[in-house]
């Protein structure tokens, strides 16, 4: 692989590139699903190729190829340089990049049990047993399970002399029970909705989830939701479960802090951000108890945003995003860092695959734990609603106004979790919501959730991001507008 990397960099240089970096990536994936007692998807894929990014005539070009021969990668490098020269037809100024060190390294992410070495029967038997356990609850009309495993090898080299190999295993698993009854559909998922939990790691994740223990409860709650009262439309106290808080962080903190959005580079598709540059160090983003970091280091945990180096060869870092409630930092790249006066990139450039350009992406954007136990937090709440497990999510293109709905909720009265509520939803304005946070649960409740399906860019790239979160409480939140008839 290093030969292909080196040859393409040399061709790019000879064709006139002033800078180039190249990624050879080998991606392997296995997907398993079941539905109501039978195997649904059963597939495996591999993809290997090379993508090269160059600066020529002061502008960017990128090309990719699956022809891994010296001729193939040379043609690809030449095409990237020609594209860069076309880009220069409509440039404003030459590309500038903050300096970065040169690294020669090899790194492998955590993986105790290679999921591709676990017998397929073992994996399918577990899924089919969980599927059956959900359907053992009378009234469940649809049961579904899924597992997904990925093994990603990346060989990165740059014209500055870096040569970095990284290997990452990603594992994910989940299940959902759906109940259609009386002209309504309700569903419950475990351990999270939309594919479950995903981490940087191996089959040990699957074994830790104990699907069979949770499957009957999932089915029973999906049934019970049909007879639960509707979540009221009012303002009140909200306690969010950890996985939902993780998605709240993703949408209302993670995306607004992407510097490419702030600078207008995503204006046509993903949108921009209310976090204009004047707000850096000048915005009270959240209440003083809120501390949020973007931490790509493996020390933060085995998150989907954990790595040793980003896809432009910058070492993983921890960035303070919100410190004691104040807005403290953006996600940046080598090209954007200097625009906010940073001497160095924050190391957040990531690519979906060999045929995609690296772009600024969330790493692990996590809220740091507070002092509360969940039991004490509920006991401290006189009147509120506890919502858990996302059902829908939406936010405007500058990341101000959001609305989330969850699968399930429980009323809290007099410090006790009482009756179940169906169709829960809440909405608000980002900074108002985060400034209303008055309690965060402790490290015992903190989980590094994986969001495997974050879409951004043109052409679209799907990226996994991590979000450490513990249950937290918010005051004076608006409930129930998703089902309002007004």
């Amino acid at each position: 692989m290093w030969d292909y990397c080196g040859h393409s960099l040399e061709v790019a240089r000879l064709r006139g590139a002033s800078y180039a970096d190249v990624r050879v990536m080998h991606l392997r994936q296995r997907d398993l699903t079941t539905k109501s007692g039978r195997v649904g998807t059963l597939g495996q894929s591999e993809s290997i190729g090379l993508g090269i990014r160059v600066v020529a005539h002061g502008a960017w070009g990128f090309a990719s190829t699956d022809k891994l021969t010296r001729e193939g990668v040379a043609a690809c490098a030449a095409q990237a340089v020609a594209i860069a020269k076309s880009s220069a037809l409509a440039k404003k100024e030459d590309v500038q990049m903050v300096p970065e060190g040169t690294y020669v390294d090899s790194w492998q992410g955590p993986c105790l049990k290679d999921p591709f070495e676990i017998p397929l029967e073992t994996q399918l038997d577990l899924l089919l047993a969980a599927d059956a356990a959900m359907r053992s609850v009378r009234g469940v009309t649809l049961s579904e399970t899924d597992m997904q495993f990925r093994k990603i090898d990346t060989w990165f080299a740059s014209s500055s002399g870096s040569k970095i190999h990284q290997r990452r295993f990603i594992s994910g698993c989940g299940m959902v029970a759906t109940v259609f009854k009386d002209d309504a559909i309700q569903k419950r998922s475990y351990p999270n909705s939309f594919g479950g939990q995903h981490v940087l790691g191996g089959y040990e994740l699957i074994e830790s989830l104990d699907l069979l223990q949770h499957a009957p409860r999932v089915g029973e709650e999906a049934i019970a939701l049909h007879s639960a009262p509707q979540c009221p439309e009012k303002a009140g106290t909200l306690i969010l479960g950890g996985s939902q808080l993780g998605l709240q962080i993703h949408e209302s903190i993670g995306h607004p802090i992407e510097l490419d959005r702030v600078l207008g580079q995503e204006a046509n598709f993903a949108g921009t951000s209310f976090l204009t540059l004047d707000k850096l160090h000048h915005l009270r983003y959240a209440s003083p108890i809120v501390n949020v970091v973007a931490d790509a280091r493996i020390a933060h945990g085995p998150g989907l945003g954990s790595f040793a180096y980003d896809d432009e060869g910058v070492p993983a870092q921890c960035i303070d995003v919100i410190k004691d409630g104040e807005f403290h930092g953006y996600l940046s790249s080598r090209e954007t860092a200097h625009l906010i006066g940073l001497p160095r990139s924050g190391g957040t450039m990531r690519t979906e695959g060999w045929n995609r350009l690296p772009m600024i992406r969330m790493t692990n954007v996590s809220i740091l734990p507070g002092p509360w136990t969940l039991e004490n937090l509920i006991a401290d709440t006189e009147d509120g609603i506890l919502m858990d497990t996302n059902r829908s999510w939406s936010i405007d293109d500058r990341r101000y106004q959001f609305q989330f709905s969850t699968e399930i909720a429980w009323e809290i009265k007099g410090g006790k979790k009482t009756r179940m509520l169906k169709n829960p939803s809440y909405s608000g304005i980002t900074t108002e919501f985060w400034n209303s946070c008055d309690a965060i649960c402790n490290a015992d409740h903190w989980v590094l959730w994986g969001t495997p399906n974050c879409g951004k860019g043109q052409p679209m790239q799907v990226m996994g991001t991590g979000h450490g979160a513990a249950p937290a409480r918010f005051r004076n939140v608006r409930f129930g507008t998703a089902f309002s008839k007004q």
Partner: protein, 466 residues
């Protein structure tokens, strides 16, 4: 945007467009997999090869900031042995790699329970010809896209605006064969131009997608977005509530597009479709007729499904009444009917879906809709649409890039963006008039043929800050 005459320059400079492999070469790869499978004694084998060449010029802040090209080919092999099937996909075409993929497919297939509902692979089929490969699109160069982008950026600068968007072009081919003699092939080209014009904190947007790049006029789209951005400044805040709305075709597409899977027979059988229990009933207004038609002149896509079955035109909704669903071979057998050629590649748990929706239009132009509106809102596009309630099909999302108050038959003022929570079923019962149907391009749904609509009592629940 109306199509324009095919007068685009044929001058070719800059990075040359690459070309797809000859179809016979792709067939040779497929044949070699079938040969390996036969030698191995595999009872049934399906080979699906997809080759794609795509390029995209992306701009923001009145300059190109990303500019990419890719060329890839994948070989997807499905084997079936004694009621067991699995798929393995690789992008390596040397014989050793194909043999390894074949073995992996056999291994995956063999390590699962037998599926009594798995059907034998289909035999040879006859396909209706479609011609969706346009040389002008395939030959478009990086320089040509860059020059069109530069003109759009120059317009933005002249108007004191900031442009962002994309100009993409690409070509692809698909070859599907199986060991029972089925052989299908398809080629298409596709181009997209999308532009956002920002004026201060206001913005507007225009987008078009076509098989033939000469049907896209980037300068006209830039002009449309630019003029609308001027009108979008200083938005006033209105209280949320129910409004008469005129939805431009992109907004209609992105909402109605969420209905497509509800017409799948498998979704209805699984009781997760909003049409469960509603077949044969007047679910929509009498002015709503929806078909799935892969052969419509403004559609793109192959004339066969994931198993190689010819796609049929299916009347889904006739004057408000849900008439038909679409079927794969498996769901058709379970329902005691015939496949409509809408199956996904196997194995999968979702079955099938209509991918070429055509919503019949009317004759009322957007201008006439505005003129006939005492008070209402004109909606350019919608954003971040998600399902709130699957059976009532309540969708939430935001307006974006151009929301305007209509008063006394005229556009009166820009309005701050709203969040909506609206049942699509209810919306399609409240359509007052329709414009001509056209190939619409949005961001949430794939391109389809839909009309602009005037809808009463559209529910906006909250307002945002801009």
């Amino acid at each position: 945007m109306s199509p324009r005459k095919h007068t685009q320059s044929t001058k070719r400079t800059g990075a040359p467009a690459t070309t797809l492999r000859p179809e016979r070469e792709v067939h040779r790869v497929a044949a070699s997999v079938l040969r390996l499978a036969k030698e191995r004694g595999v009872p049934e084998t399906e080979v699906h090869i997809e080759e794609s060449i795509q390029a995209l010029t992306r701009f923001a802040n009145n300059a190109i900031h990303q500019h990419v090209a890719e060329h890839g080919l994948i070989v997807s092999i499905r084997t079936a042995v004694d009621g067991r099937t699995a798929r393995v996909t690789t992008n390596r075409v040397e014989e050793d790699a194909l043999r390894a993929a074949l073995e992996d497919s056999l291994s995956l297939a063999s390590h699962q329970p037998r599926d009594s509902g798995l059907l034998p692979m289909p035999s040879k089929q006859r396909y209706r010809a479609v011609h969706r490969f346009h040389a002008a699109t395939a030959a478009l160069t990086a320089d040509e896209r860059a020059r069109a982008v530069k003109k759009a950026c120059q317009l933005a600068e002249r108007e004191g605006q900031v442009a962002a968007g994309i100009f993409s072009s690409g070509q692809s081919q698909s070859v599907l064969v199986n060991s029972r003699g089925l052989s299908a092939a398809y080629r298409q080209t596709q181009a997209t131009f999308s532009i956002t014009m920002q004026q201060g904190s206001a913005a507007s947007w225009a987008k078009a997608n076509a098989g033939d790049v000469r049907d896209i006029d980037p300068a006209e789209l830039a002009k449309t977005a630019s003029e609308k951005a001027v009108r979008a400044v200083n938005p006033m805040e209105l209280a949320p509530g129910r409004f008469s709305v005129i939805l431009e075709s992109a907004a209609v597409l992105d909402l109605v597009g969420f209905l497509f899977y509800d017409f799948a027979a498998t979704a209805v059988a699984d009781k997760r479709s909003c049409l469960s229990g509603r077949l044969g009933k007047p679910v929509f207004g009498k002015n709503i007729t929806i078909a799935d038609d892969a052969y419509h002149s403004e559609q793109l896509g192959a004339p066969f499904d994931g198993e190689g079955i010819p796609r049929q035109r299916v009347m889904l909704v006739d004057r408000g009444v849900v008439k038909n669903l679409v079927y794969s071979r498996r769901s058709a057998k379970q329902a005691g009917t015939k496949t409509t050629g809408h199956g996904f590649v196997l194995p999968n748990e979702y079955g099938e879906a209509p991918l070429n929706l055509v919503v019949s239009g009317g004759s009322t132009s957007i201008e006439k809709m505005i003129a006939a509106t005492d008070r209402g809102l004109l909606v350019t596009r919608l954003w971040y649409i998600r399902e709130v309630d699957p059976y009532e099909k309540i969708m939430t999302g935001m307006t974006r890039d151009g929301l305007f108050l209509i008063e006394n038959g005229k556009i009166a003022h820009a309005v701050r963006n709203f969040r909506f929570n609206q049942s699509v079923l209810e919306m399609l019962r409240n359509v007052e008039c329709l414009g001509p149907a056209c190939r619409a391009a949005g961001e949430e749904a794939s391109e389809m043929v839909v009309p602009p609509m005037k809808v009463r009592d559209f529910h906006f629940s909250e307002v945002t800050k801009f």
